[in-house]
Amino acid sequence: MLSYTIKRLLSLIPVLLGLTLIVFFMIRAIPGNPAQIILGQLATEEAVAELTKQLGLDQPWYTQFFLYLGGLFSGDLGQSLRTKSPINEEIWPFLAATAELALCAMLIAIVIGVNAGIISAWFQNSWFDYVAMILALVGVSMPIFWLGLMEQWIFAINLEWLPTSGRENVRAPIDAITNFYIIDTIIQGRFDQLWIVIKHLILPSAALATIPMAIIARITRSTMLEVMKSDFIRTARAKGLRMFWVVYKHSLKNAVIPVLTIIGLQTGLLLGGAILTETIFSWPGIGRYIYEAINYRDYPVIQSGILVIAVIFVLINLIVDLLYAVIDPRIKYN
């Protein structure tokens, strides 16, 4: 298992290298000169030329690429063209904000999605099954923009239960330590603030959870149905085991692998794909950080931002692969 893990980690190197190269070229394919955009509409031609030079954008692409790559190897993500700050420092709060949101969303999606899938399979063709699967279909095709605004309208404006947007009450801001506000408020013993943080998390994570929840529910249901048709389940039933245990213990364990795969993929997707949710709920996350960078042609930020997300994505999937072996002893990595 250890050697497998190391092998997998090593195999990440060419993957990430290739990825870096693709991102590098994709960004340069976007029309627009960053120097021109940084300087704005009023800039003179000479000024643009000078800044282009200053930013190293006049050098051939391979020089630029290898300079960037060299930086990466020494753990340097580069410097933002716009804010002139090192991306290593700058990116963390945005990443933490999105991670907190995505983890909450996945928690909701997994708990509700898996259970809904299980119960639907258990009581196949019952009214619960129908309702759950229709909801799942609606969930998959839900436009997040609309959903987010509706949530705000119902739960914030009409019911006045929850705030509409942001991560915290800006009138009494939280002292950021880890930038995971749930952790920060607990460390500081500010449970009043913890409650505010949770309230801010509910609407956006519910919106973000919708699609993965629906997908998870559908996958869980179909794999569970398959497993429950197998012989060992019939034997278990014949033994007189209670249905609850048959479903939640014997069937689920055998159905969990595809579900886990989907969960891994979806978690990765949420990290990069939370941009719509981040926009509607003005969540200062990594999606909007990269989006703003695109508007300013802030090449280093776009490159490194995408790279960071990609690395996390790959790592999550590695963890999922390793979990297979933990859950199913028949799977062995040598």
Binding site: I30, T44, E45, L149, R171, I198, K199, F281, P284, P329
Partner: protein, 537 residues
């Protein structure tokens, strides 16, 4: 054995998380009862009479006003820095600012300004003539690319800036600059602390220090900027607020939602269509920003068949402006006739608009040699701006109007940076765009947007007319306002006839705030000074 443990752990985890979510949602619903949610959201306890949260669509790019052209930056810096000359509360007339009095020599080449005494920067540095000279030297001598506004408004025309004594500054020019004092009042020319500039160097834009009513406290990128009361502000009793937080809420409807729940107190970028809803809510109020803008459809005069004046005039006749205003501005706009709004001195009210007349348009097209119309691209702005809240829809409306005269317009759009760059390169046949004035001077509209010198910067339609060029340069150099007005009026007549644009609207941008806010006056330039604003809690 091992197998067992695994599954139990999994089941346990599932049940635990189920329980967690359960208690989460149940406590959510419990909490609906009394009003403690507002308490938790913090409106009451912490806002001890003086906290204002200003919700806006985008973050600032820099807090060094001289080094940016971005409106979102000036919204903050206008409260941190002060200029030598001030604009009026809701107009662009000139008033004393950090300079108390000023005089100009006969030839218009020497300006002498007397400075306010006893003013200090936030870091304790004295404000005096040396500080002013330092700032101008920085803008003039610094990286040229960094200080565009200095270069566009003053550039090489300022020969020297000298400190005559501690509180007198003298500007020597080589060419008169007619809007000299109006330029000085622009936000980019806020005077910054020399000590702080030295100390922070390249990072000054993140550590702003001025003399303004508020001091910088914190900037969390893409999230918020917090500024706090300057206790030592030279104007007695100001500012009224203790703290202002500029919060980024990108989506217009979400921003209004946040206002409705009291998470923010004041928002800009209000959809015109939301005006009625806000007005009908007794807890909210609408603020109107006096119009100093123009939204237009540019007709690139280097592209066929738009290089033909008759074609451009024909397109002008095809557009029903009032219909567009009623549909997309909820009436909060006036049809535009000239390239600048009527409040700007030198506006020519005698210029008549091309009346909406599709028949006449068709005749003109036939005369130009296009009896069956032609095909062209119509570029739709991808971002909302006060002068063009819904680019795509306005483009569709125009498309329909053009179709009536046989012109088939294909709507195209790009991401904003690309849009500007491509349009600037003359790649668009016709394109939607607009402009908000910086200083309320005619030069800031006509020269900046339509002079041949501005091709490649803001003259996107590649309009070029020698006569207009001459008039505009003459007006720029004249210090006689009556003469300037006359020159600008002549220029507008020629421009109207040449029809490089279809001027569409002068809109009245809307803001909204909680009913507790008083003394808020929206400034036409878009940078709102918040020093007299009060909020009752």
């Amino acid at each position: 054995m091992k197998k067992r443990k695994g599954i139990w752990a999994l089941v346990l985890m599932l049940l635990l998380s189920l329980a967690l979510v359960g208690c989460n949602s149940s406590s959510t619903s419990n909490e609906g009862e009394p009003d403690d949610s507002t308490d938790d959201n913090g409106t009451e306890e912490t806002a001890a009479g003086g906290q204002l949260v200003f919700g806006r669509g985008g973050d600032s790019t820099s807090l060094d006003p001289a080094a940016t052209t971005e409106g979102e930056a000036f919204k903050v810096t206008v409260n941190l820095y002060e200029t030598l000359i001030n604009f009026g509360e809701q107009d662009t007339e000139i008033h004393p600012g950090l300079a108390t009095e000023w005089s100009t020599s006969e030839d218009g080449l020497t300006h002498t300004l007397k400075l306010r005494e006893g003013v200090k920067f936030h870091d304790g540095t004295d404000f005096n003539a040396d500080a002013v000279v330092y700032n101008f030297e920085r803008w003039k001598g610094g990286d040229k690319e960094q200080f565009y506004y200095y270069n566009s408004q003053f550039g090489d025309k300022i020969d020297s800036v000298t400190a005559v004594d501690e509180y007198t500054v003298e500007f020597k020019l080589n060419t008169p600059i007619a809007p000299f004092y109006k330029n000085l009042a622009m936000s980019p020319f806020g005077i910054a602390s020399p000590t702080a500039i030295e100390e922070h160097g390249d990072n000054f834009f993140k550590n702003p220090v001025g003399t303004g009513p508020f001091k910088f406290k914190e900037w969390r990128e893409n999230d918020r900027i917090t500024i706090v009361k300057n206790e030592d502000y030279w104007q007695e009793g100001l500012p009224k607020l203790d703290e202002v937080i500029f919060r980024v809420i990108p989506e217009n409807s979400a921003r209004l939602n946040a206002l409705a729940t009291g998470e923010v107190d004041l928002i800009d970028g209000v959809n015109f269509s939301d005006k009625e809803t806000i007005e009908s809510n007794p807890e909210l109020q609408v603020f109107e920003r006096p119009s100093l803008n123009i939204g237009y459809l540019g007709l690139t005069s280097t592209r066929k068949p738009l290089d033909n004046k008759l074609v451009r005039q024909a397109l002008n006749h095809a557009v029903n402006k009032q219909e567009i205003i009623d549909a997309f501005y909820a009436g909060a706009a006036d049809p535009a006739i000239n390239p600048m709004p009527p409040v700007v001195a030198g506006y020519n009210p005698e210029v008549e608009d091309y009346e909406y007349d599709p028949e006449k348009a068709k005749e003109l097209l036939a005369e130009a040699g296009y009896p069956d119309g032609f095909e062209m691209e119509l570029w739709a702005m991808p971002v909302p701006r006060p002068y063009m809240p819904e680019g795509q829809k306005v483009a569709e409306a125009l498309q329909k109007m053009f179709e009536e005269i046989g012109v088939k317009a294909k709507i195209v759009t790009y991401e904003w940076g690309t849009y500007l760059e491509k349009a600037n390169a003359g790649e668009a046949d016709t394109f939607l765009l607009g402009w908000t004035g910086d200083n309320g001077d005619a030069d800031n509209f006509l020269y900046v947007l339509l002079d041949e010198d501005s091709i490649g910067s803001n003259n996107y339609s590649y309009y070029k007319n020698d006569e207009v060029h001459e008039l505009l340069l003459k007006a720029q150099a004249s210090s006689d306002q009556a003469e300037r007005d006359e020159l600008y009026k002549q220029a507008q007549v020629i421009i109207k006839d040449d029809a490089p644009w279809i001027p569409l609207v002068h809109s009245t941008p809307l803001l909204a705030g909680s009913a507790n806010i008083s003394n808020f006056l929206a400034h036409p330039t878009g940078s709102d000074l918040l020093s007299s604003v009060e909020i009752k809690n």
